[in-house]
């Protein structure tokens, strides 16, 4: 049940929206880069191993 935010609804909802949006983007980008870098390193290590 949504609380009655009265005349400050925009300020409150925008604060939560902007903040949670930024946090989701930050977490998403961090996880995506972690996966990409981990896969790249695994590829390089595999190539070096196979080349002796």
């Amino acid at each position: 049940m949504m609380p009655d935010l009265g005349k400050y609804a925009f300020a409150v909802l925008a604060s939560y929206g902007v903040s949670l949006g930024l946090l989701v983007v930050l977490v998403g980008l961090s996880i995506a880069r972690a996966r990409k870098v981990r896969a790249e390193l695994a590829k390089i290590e595999k190539r070096i191993k196979s080349n002796g």
């Binding site: 400050y8 300020a11 604060s15 902007v18 903040s19 930024l22 946090l23 996880i31």
Partner: protein, 242 residues
């Protein structure tokens, strides 16, 4: 057992791999609990109305914006004194997280300030020092990206971090140094008389714990990434030389 064991990248990755899921889960639990509690189950303030709900995001984000820089300062000092690569990479990993917290503090401050002060922005000491802190974050990240040699980048960004610490301290204590600004004094205090009422304090405490845990989880994850990226660069360089 010594803390310097974790200066070994392999040991750092192995240990953080074990604790990361637990810290991440605790961060999500605290953030969801604190924000839901604060947003849905706390009363409006008699002066600020429902805008008091912004408190649960604004205060933890502002605290962590400053504390992230403090952590970067410690890591930079460790790099300068002991030359541990993991500490330099941890400082690098923390910068985007701290910058995001600074943006959140600035944005929610503006959204809160407009209905309360009648303006989105004022050149108030705390607001201005926070903006300068954000610019330092941007400069710090840009400097890391601009220099190809990792050790040189770590040296220069560590110096920048030391200089920027002045503004991190100013951001924290500006309301005590100058009292002509719009920004109120500290909302949270160990003195029960000065601290906010318990009805706001407890959910805020859970939110602060959530932001701290999220910061730790992200720094661990991003430091692992920086370590792996550095190893990839080293292997590629070795391969080119061979």
């Amino acid at each position: 057992m010594s803390i310097w064991e974790y200066a070994n990248p392999v040991k750092f990755i192995r240990t953080t791999d074990i604790v990361l899921p637990w810290i991440s889960a605790a961060a999500v639990l605290c953030l969801v609990t604190g924000l839901v509690w604060g947003f849905f189950f706390t009363p409006d303030d008699y002066r600020q109305g429902s805008t008091v709900k912004i408190f649960y995001i604004h205060v933890p984000a502002a605290m962590m914006a400053i504390n992230a820089w403090a952590m970067m300062l410690v890591a930079s000092l460790v790099w300068i004194i002991r030359r541990h690569h993991v500490s330099a990479l941890a400082a690098r990993a923390a910068a985007p997280v701290g910058a995001t917290f600074t943006v959140i503090a600035l944005a929610t401050g503006a959204l809160w300030g407009q209905p309360m002060w009648g303006t989105w922005w004022a050149w108030d000491p705390r607001l201005t020092s926070f903006l300068v802190l954000f610019l330092f974050y941007l400069g710090y990240m840009a400097l890391w990206s601009a220099i190809e040699n990792d050790d040189t980048a770590a040296d220069l960004t560590s110096i920048l971090c030391l200089v920027g610490s002045v503004f991190a301290i100013l951001s924290r204590y500006a309301v005590l140094f100058w009292n002509q600004g719009l920004h109120q004094g500290a909302s949270l205090s160990l003195d029960a008389e000065e601290n906010v009422s318990d009805v706001y304090w407890y959910p805020a405490l859970v939110c602060i714990a959530g932001f701290v845990l999220l910061f730790v989880a992200l720094v661990f994850l991003r430091t692992q990434t920086e370590i792996r990226a550095r190893r990839s660069r080293a292997l590629l360089a070795r391969e080119r030389r061979a």
